[in-house]
Point group: none
Chain length 77, copies 3
């Protein structure tokens, strides 16, 4: 019995993969809402644009935290 588990790699890859599901959908929702809003009310595009970037940033941060803590929990940092 030489090899018990032939699957190799780190759980951090699975963790990041899972952490990217939600932000992938969430950022898509934000941009989709902005595209539809701007098409209907073009005069509102300047008013809602800051919230596109804020929403994008706070949602994307969830995925990027998955990268950071993947390294941390792997024990590399």
């Amino acid at each position: 019995m030489d090899i018990v588990a032939a699957v190799e790699g780190s759980t951090a890859a699975i963790g990041y993969g899972l952490a990217a599901i939600g932000p992938g959908i969430g950022v898509g929702l934000v941009f989709a809402a902005y595209i539809q809003s701007t098409a209907r009310q073009p005069e509102s595009s300047r008013m809602t644009l800051p919230y596109v970037w804020i929403g994008f940033a706070v949602i994307e941060a969830l995925a990027l935290l998955g990268i950071a803590f993947g390294f941390i929990w792997q024990g590399n940092l």
Copy 2:
């Protein structure tokens, strides 16, 4: 029996990844709703903005709790 487990890392990474799915979608829904509402009724933007931040905070807290309890359940804290 040389190699027992070739997969390394912590289940905390998987836990955080799962915990980030819902908040990623949820925060996206909140910001998407605010962008569309503000575009249609610009005079409502000041009235609904506090609820964007409250909603964002309580949803994002779910993902950040995943980080905190990842460390706790790993036994590091």
Copy 3:
């Protein structure tokens, strides 16, 4: 009992597979919003097009990061 686990491969493949779920839906939402908006308000197509590409880029990046970190966490890089 020579072989205990016959499943082989890397967790990076699972990680990327998971990381492709969310961006797959998210980019679809962005393009769907642009198609519907442009069909209703054709004069808005030039105004909203930049946000289609920005949204596409930032969402697709989440999936491509899954490829990059799959290699990194596997220990090849």
